[in-house]
């Protein structure tokens, strides 16, 4: 894992001091709320329905055990003993007092963490593949590149007041576990014919009210040009992105309006200029960062077989354990989706336990996934059974990775001031309706994603089944969508028709899954059947 040197630490410490000063000026009344707002937003502090909400950055979703333990400490000390892991691989606390905000950032800085640029119209936390460094199929570990981009984008003076927020994702395999093409910039690391590693750039994706899949802008950007190329992409956006209407301000609208070809032309022109300025770091910097991500000292003697004789363990193993590049190791996903629970929530005690387990079984490392789960990336196969027992005891062993129970839900009307409808109670009802393990397994991979309003924090556009909360004459109502995907088969979901009540939408999902079971062909997932037979039969089942 990356470790701060004195410069990184100094920058984060400076930020704490600066933010403390800003908070004090606000509390003393020297600054209006309007003046304070953009400052607190650049530090992840939102004003929500009931309290301040703080969003803490987890760069590219990677955490050490000590960092996870600090997240637990903060939940206990300043919040109500829990936190919410988000689809952007961050964590949010819902019950924060303004008076505590600077102290929290101070506590975070002791474990090399911060909340810098986790909100506001700036470059946000960089997201990545939760299997980075563990998966056999990646071209390289994407995280050194993501860390370089983290540094470049932190306190970037030109891009702190963009037309709108800006999200970058870096992955390095053809399998996309990070919804890469639904980001403002999606980067896939690839090798060129000469065997060099470079970045394939997709620009202009996003969700929100106008979802778009990012088009390819450049096939290969070498490591030596990465920063200059990003500067060019951002500068064109900063200058020409729309500022007249905040709903049209994301880069996806610019790329869509002028066309990917024209955007690319402008970027290339800007890049040709910027490249003359010598802004890229020396190659030695990427190498320095990469050393922190060297593979851990895997046990060469460890057995490659797993004893699956305990049937309950076997169910979890089949569902939540993925192949590791080392045959004696495995990648284990801890599902934060117990039946009837709040997707992505973890208590302080659970966080402490996950920190301990990471230390004991996974080289002190864990990851947050965009589907709001936690991954232990490097577990010896021989330790999986013991790990599972401890997880099971703590209610952390739902065996539902990528099944209907493993749904994404945004905070919705229970917390969010922008919400039209509640997301959490609906998620709980669906989870209960489909609680039966056999039944979930029978339905197979089914990604269900719920947003409480058009902003799409819950990725409903990218759900095999998406649910969007709307307000219909003062009553909460839910639109149903089918056919989206945030994976390598990326696609945008389509609305089925008129919306449903909360209970109605649960029934509708059941009708749709029944139809799928009746219609599916060998090996088809729900989304495959939908793509083959189209919307009509589903409409018939739902409204007929």
């Amino acid at each position: 894992m990356y470790q701060y040197d004195k410069y990184d630490q100094s920058l984060v410490d400076s930020r704490v001091a600066e933010f403390r000063d800003q908070c004090e000026r606000r509390i003393a009344g020297e600054m209006t709320e309007d003046q304070f707002k953009p400052l607190r937003l650049q530090n992840g502090l939102y004003l929500q329905l009931h309290a301040y909400m703080l969003r803490v950055a987890i760069p590219y979703g990677t955490l050490s055990g000590d960092q996870m333990r600090m997240l637990a400490t903060i939940a206990r000390k300043y919040d109500r003993d829990y936190g919410h892991f988000t689809t952007r691989q961050n964590i949010q606390y819902n019950w924060i007092k303004l008076e505590d905000a600077a102290d929290i950032l101070q506590d975070l800085s002791t474990v090399e963490m911060h909340a810098i640029q986790t909100s506001g119209n700036c470059i946000r936390n960089i997201s990545s593949d939760q299997y980075a460094g563990a998966s056999a199929e990646e071209a390289a570990d994407p995280r050194p590149w993501a860390e370089l981009l983290r540094q470049w984008s932190s306190f970037h003076p030109e891009f702190a007041h963009l037309p709108r927020k800006f999200k970058i994702c870096v992955i390095a395999s053809d399998t996309d576990r990070a919804a890469m093409r639904l980001h403002d910039i999606g980067i896939q690391l690839v090798e060129n014919d000469a065997g060099e590693l470079g970045a394939r750039f997709y620009v202009g994706g996003g969700m929100g009210r106008t979802p778009m899949i990012a088009p390819l802008i450049r096939e290969f950007v070498s490591a030596d040009d990465l920063i200059s190329y990003c500067e060019a992409c951002l500068r064109v956006y900063n200058r020409y992105g729309r500022r007249d209407n905040k709903y049209k301000a994301r880069i996806k609208i610019l790329v869509h309006e002028i066309g990917a070809e024209e955007y690319k032309r402008q970027v290339e022109e800007e890049f040709a200029h910027i490249k003359t300025l010598n802004l890229d770091p020396p190659r030695a910097e990427l190498e320095r960062i990469s050393e922190f991500f060297a593979p851990p000292a895997f046990d060469a003697e460890a057995p490659t077989e797993v004893d699956l004789s305990d049937p309950d363990f076997r169910i979890w193993h089949d569902q939540n354990v993925a192949e590791h590049k080392n045959p004696a190791y495995a990648i284990a996903t801890i599902s934060l989706k117990p039946v009837g629970g709040i997707p992505g929530d973890a208590t302080a005690d659970q966080m402490d336990l996950m920190a301990d387990l990471a230390k004991q079984y996974s080289f002190d490392e864990c990851r947050v996934t965009h589907s709001q789960n936690i991954v232990l990336p490097h577990v010896r196969k021989a330790d999986l059974y013991a790990l599972w027992q401890k997880l099971d005891e703590a209610g952390l062993a739902p065996a539902n990775l990528d099944l209907i129970g493993d749904m994404i839900a945004c905070p919705g009307l229970d917390y969010c001031s922008l919400a039209n409808a509640r997301s959490i109670p609906l998620a709980q009802k669906i989870s209960q309706r489909f609680a039966d393990q056999q039944r979930q397994k029978e339905l197979g991979e089914l990604k269900l994603k719920i947003s409480g309003c058009i902003n799409a924090c819950g990725h409903h556009h990218a759900g095999h089944i998406g649910i969007l909360g709307v307000d219909r004459k003062g009553v909460e109502n839910y639109q149903l969508l089918f056919g989206g995907s945030g994976a390598e088969d990326v696609s945008l979901a389509k609305i089925t028709g008129p919306g449903f009540t909360e209970d109605g939408v649960v029934d509708a999902i059941e009708k749709a899954t029944d139809l799928y079971l009746a219609q599916r062909e060998e090996g088809e997932r729900f989304v495959d059947t939908y793509r083959r037979i189209g919307m009509e039969p589903f409409k018939e089942a739902l409204y007929g």
């Binding site: 100094s10 920058l11 600066e18 540094q151 306190f155 003076p157 007041h161 300025l277 030695a284």
Partner: protein, 155 residues
């Protein structure tokens, strides 16, 4: 160091980080500037293209970049573009310019400030003093962390 002026007439800088004489001419619009070959000061609106000025840099001594709202960040790019092209005259941020924006503006090449609401000079000094390091090289010449780490002094 910054000289602080009492807010004078429209267009005067409250804060100035230069030693030369301030330009005495009023800043004119880009259109007017193109026509008046003896003009030396221009005012760039946030939607205007700074590159239009590049052919006329040799007769410019003051560029005033207007910020209609502090959230409109186009002026930061305009400033860097001018500095990157070698413009060495005064570069002034005017309009909705707040204490907490000054540091980034300095990093992008602004060296004078004419905020709509006068700034507290002490607060500005404090805001400029929090950070010892920067990650990115910009036109301000500060040595970035990336260079310090690898024993160089140039970004």
């Amino acid at each position: 160091m910054a000289e602080s002026f009492a807010t004078g007439g429209v267009g005067d800088a409250q804060l100035r980080y230069r030693d030369d004489e301030p330009c005495a001419q009023p800043a004119v619009t880009v259109e007017a500037f193109k026509g008046q070959t003896n003009a030396t000061a221009v005012r760039l609106e946030s939607g205007e293209d700074a590159r239009e000025l590049l052919a006329m840099l040799d007769r410019l001594t003051l560029v005033v970049v207007h910020f209609p709202a502090f959230t409109d960040g186009r002026g930061y790019s305009a400033a860097r573009i001018l500095r990157e092209a070698g413009y060495a005259g005064e570069l002034r941020a005017a309009g909705d310019v707040l204490v907490d924006q000054i540091r980034y503006m300095r990093r992008c090449g602004f060296d004078s400030f004419a905020p709509d609401a006068p700034l507290d000079a002490a607060a500005v000094e404090r805001a400029l003093g929090f950070y010892d390091h920067v990650y990115q090289p910009t036109v301000d010449g500060q040595t970035p962390v990336w260079t310090l780490r690898h024993g160089g002094d140039h970004g």
